[in-house]
């Protein structure tokens, strides 16, 4: 019986602890310093960029920080892409075939813009974080869902409107949002301003869920998520 209680507790405690404070003992200064040293590098040789960013760092958390910090300081948000995407998805929401065709074309446009101008929208940020992390040997995934900061945009009828990442460090999943860490769009002139915000780096899941609702509930990383329910059933 005691063993059973311990197992149940463990199931709940593990996700609750998946947050930045797990790495309080790690000094991220070196990772940030390295990311700053490679400011302005282009995206044409990603394996080399990852090598530059991570080869001198000892822990996975530092390696991920260097990647996250570099992306957040070098990739700008592009309001036009976001606006076009939002408008077209709304327009084509009842025509899935046309929407798929358009998405294929738009995807190419998004990646070309990212590669040549280092500008993108949230899926571009999330994709780049994933690719760079994978190149560094880290498990990383893209999460699609809803930005709860703007209730009008979070209308479920229009589908998900935001993407972010989950990263596995030391066997545990953590959440982060490089789009919101990077900066903001000044709505008076629609220009992007870099303004690094570290709060979205490995944010506590209970805080993260207040502004990010994933399509798949298990990616809240909260105890009541599907994955935990499944684990409980197995017990």
């Amino acid at each position: 019986m005691n063993r059973f209680i311990l197992l149940v507790c463990f199931t709940f405690i593990v996700p609750l602890h998946a947050q930045r404070s797990d790495f309080n003992k790690i000094d991220f200064t070196k990772a940030e310093h390295i990311a700053n040293r490679y400011k302005g590098e282009d995206l044409t040789n990603l394996p080399l960029l990852v090598h530059h960013l991570t080869s001198q760092l000892e822990t996975d958390a530092e390696r991920f920080k260097a990647i996250y910090y570099w992306v957040s300081h070098n990739i700008s948000g592009n309001y036009d892409l976001m606006h076009t995407n939002e408008r077209t998805r709304k327009k084509l929401k009842n025509d899935p075939e046309e929407l798929q065709r358009w998405n294929h074309q738009f995807k190419k446009e998004v990646f070309t813009k990212l590669l040549s101008d280092k500008e993108t929208l949230c899926t571009g940020y999330a994709y780049l974080i994933k690719v760079l992390s994978n190149l560094a040997g880290l498990e990383c995934t893209i999460i699609h869902g809803y930005d709860l900061n703007n209730s009008a945009k979070s209308n479920k009828q229009n589908g998900p409107n935001h993407s972010w990442n989950a990263i596995k460090l030391n066997g545990k999943w953590y959440l982060c949002d490089a789009t919101w860490s990077a900066g903001y769009t000044d709505m008076s002139n629609f220009l992007f301003e870099f303004e690094y915000d570290n709060t979205y780096f490995l944010m506590k899941p209970s805080e993260f869920v207040k502004t990010h609702k994933p399509l798949d509930e298990k990616w809240t990383l909260l105890p009541l998520s599907t994955e935990v329910h499944d684990s409980k059933k197995k017990l």
Binding site: N45, L46, F106, C122, I142, P160, Y184, D197, N198
Partner: protein
């Protein structure tokens, strides 16, 4: 006298035969060398996808940092001579990576990159942070 003449003839034939053998061996050895020299070659190529050429893809020699970016037309000339069994990794944002092994006398490759299934969505932060 006749016997001596035949013996000289035989000797001459033997010498010529040996000479031919040496020459043939020499030729064979040269051919071997020539084959060794051709195993290293300059490799060029064009990176493509279902939509045609992929501009600005990256081509890297596996296990090294030696690589090159393709031009706007997806074309590249690898900066180092390659030999049989070298593996090139071809990457480009928005596509799955592809590995290609150099075989035989390959000097031109046309890597085909598969699309990744990705739905593009976007929400940017529109306010300065209160957290800094």
């Amino acid at each position: 006298m006749k016997t001596q003449s035949i013996s000289i003839h035989q000797n001459a034939l033997k010498t010529i035969g040996l000479f031919c053998l040496v020459m043939a061996f020499g030729l064979f050895t040269n051919q071997m060398n020539a084959q060794t020299q051709t195993t290293e070659r300059t490799v060029t190529g064009t990176v493509t996808s279902t939509d045609g050429v992929v501009p600005l893809a990256t081509v890297i020699l596996k296990g090294t940092n030696i690589g090159i970016s393709c031009d706007e037309n997806g074309k590249f000339t690898f900066p180092q001579k390659l030999k049989e069994n070298d593996v090139l990794i071809i990457t480009s944002l928005g596509y799955k990576d592809r590995e290609m092994k150099i075989t035989g006398n390959t000097t031109f490759i046309e890597p085909f990159l598969d699309d990744i299934p990705l739905i593009i969505v976007g929400a940017l932060r529109t306010k300065p942070s209160n957290n800094n």
